[in-house]
Symmetry: C2
Subunit: 341 residues, 2 copies
């Protein structure tokens, strides 16, 4: 009844060879005669033998990696996860998903345990975890392989292979686009000093305004979370101003969606009365009305690249794969009005 799973030795017995030979066949090692190879393969087939991953892991380096994130945005997480997963699958690696709370001290301990217990051999870190170089250093000290995804025009340091995204350039491009459409009072929603992406986008926004000779007005820069509700609240705050903006730059698409909602509540037509743009090109940015003008962030590609780099690092620990920068691109849709000069 129990029908224990067949082991390599069962195969060996039935094929009349040593179990080491079976191992050779399974791992496609050289110098096995075709005759024996065929015989063994036949037995494997009939027994439906599958090598035990656990036992194999005792003799080899781990082939699991962890995706650690602290992000409430399900689209972001899924896109990342799918990118990583596709790469893992191609290379025969496994993925351990680890959502966490970066505010808590638990993160370090959880990760330390994952590495220490050999559960995973490497870790992919996304913001804000990836910006914590203490954490990165601790992981490296535990022999973990680390690849991180950060915001910036270049990697912040040489701790580990890094994927970087130039939020500042994209924030600037977006703001320049708004300026080119004739907007002069442009609000920035979702500033967070502790969030590199946010700061980068903000810097780009400031730089573009400065280049255009426009003073940044502090009442037009509103701090808040990257969520829909926060977007609603920030937009309400903005619209309560004596002289509100004509365009609104949401630091991500969720904020922009919240802005869309808040504008609608105030009976404002978008884009006729208020232009709104987002950032991320998340799937729903083309499902809103009007469709959001935004910045495309190739999450799945970045994640796949991160996974590829991490796997390379795990297989060839001595060769550091080079850093890799990703380019962000404006996606122009229907949420911006061209103002008459």
């Amino acid at each position: 009844m129990t029908a224990k799973k067949p082991t390599i030795k069962d195969v060996a017995r039935l094929a009349g060879v040593s179990f080491k030979t079976v191992s050779r066949v399974v791992n496609n090692e050289a110098w096995v005669s075709d005759e024996i190879k065929a015989k063994v393969q036949a037995v494997i087939e009939t027994l439906n033998y599958q090598p035990n991953r656990t036992a194999r892991l005792m003799r080899t380096a781990p082939f699991s990696l962890a995706f650690v994130y602290d992000n409430p945005n399900s689209h972001y997480v899924i896109e990342m996860q799918n990118g990583i997963l596709s790469e893992c699958r191609r290379k025969g690696f496994e993925l351990v998903i680890h959502p966490t709370d970066s505010g808590s001290d638990l993160v370090r301990q959880e990760l330390s345990t994952m590495i220490g217990s050999n559960q995973v051999g490497g870790v992919i870190l996304t913001p804000p975890l990836s910006e914590n170089s203490e954490l990165v250093q601790q992981l490296l000290a535990q022999q973990a392989k680390v690849v991180r995804i950060v915001s910036g025009a270049a990697p912040p340091d040489e701790l580990c292979p890094t994927i970087y995204v130039d939020d500042e350039a994209a924030g600037r491009a977006m703001t320049e686009y708004l300026l080119a459409q004739g907007h002069r009072r442009i609000a920035f929603l979702g500033y967070r000093a502790d969030h590199r992406s946010s700061v980068g986008r903000y810097r780009g926004y400031c730089a573009a305004l400065e280049d255009a000779g426009i003073a940044t007005s502090s009442e037009l820069v509103i701090s808040g979370d990257f969520t829909f509700d926060s977007g609603v609240a920030m937009t309400e705050q903005l619209l309560a101003l004596p002289e509100p903006a004509t365009a609104l730059f949401g630091c991500n698409d969720e904020i922009a969606a919240g802005a869309l909602f808040a504008a609608r509540m105030k009976q404002l037509a978008v884009p006729a009365d208020l232009s709104i743009v987002g950032f991320e090109n998340s799937p729903f940015s083309r499902q809103t009305w009007p469709k959001l003008t935004t910045v495309h962030q190739p999450n799945a590609d970045m994640a796949a690249k991160a996974a590829a780099m991490l796997i390379a690092l795990m297989l060839e620990p001595d060769e550091q794969p080079p850093h890799c920068g990703f380019h962000l691109q404006l996606v122009i849709r229907d949420s911006v009005e061209k103002l008459a000069k």
Copy 2:
């Protein structure tokens, strides 16, 4: 430089005890003197020893489970995943994520390998995979533990512990609500004969209409996928009818969101000109304008329950946990107009 990870034997040597005693301390077994326990614990602390999960797995039953899905809806997947993950964490289990294509024959082989190679000890199946009893039987034959989530008023069979959701009752409740608001021409968007949830909701829709003495009109029942784009297309088809409906029942929130978009394109106000309802209570259903009336589907709770059942089954293979039904509840928001009789 390599600084190999400490093993149980390193701890034993430093503590001056046998490695078996360390094992006892680590696993909190009885009959270890407090004195030795303290000494061992101190060494564990200083060495930062973590038991090797892989080695441990060679002697114990696997404590990983797989979440297998074939669903393009990221909210659904994330909610499920989070529910499972929270339960896994509480019980010290690991989760392997396995997106797949249920159309392909690969599924069976992939799952077979996961089980056969001892990568996971159990599997959580969601629709449409969970409706494939051949697949369930194959997994069971491989000694896998299986818990599935299906649509229905009761489990379809006794193959394995099952979580079931009564879509028909909810579809009926929703339709009755629409009828109570005075609607008589109600369209159903997203019928799919190969999709139990869809069929259940459709049956509820039909039953409610029949009870109200209203004939179902085939032109008001439109087949299509559970996606935004499909929702747009189906709504366009509906609105092209000589006499369109006054209310539209989208089989899920994405379809409803597509309907919202299509209505807007046709200059129709929702709900004034057309009432629209969805199904699932996904996060974005309260971020649309107007906020969608929908049915709450407790995905995270269902998933957590599934994980709890599966873990129980893995720990106590002889005690089948009982099936479990989940109730769906109407969430009334702003997308339905009350018609004057």
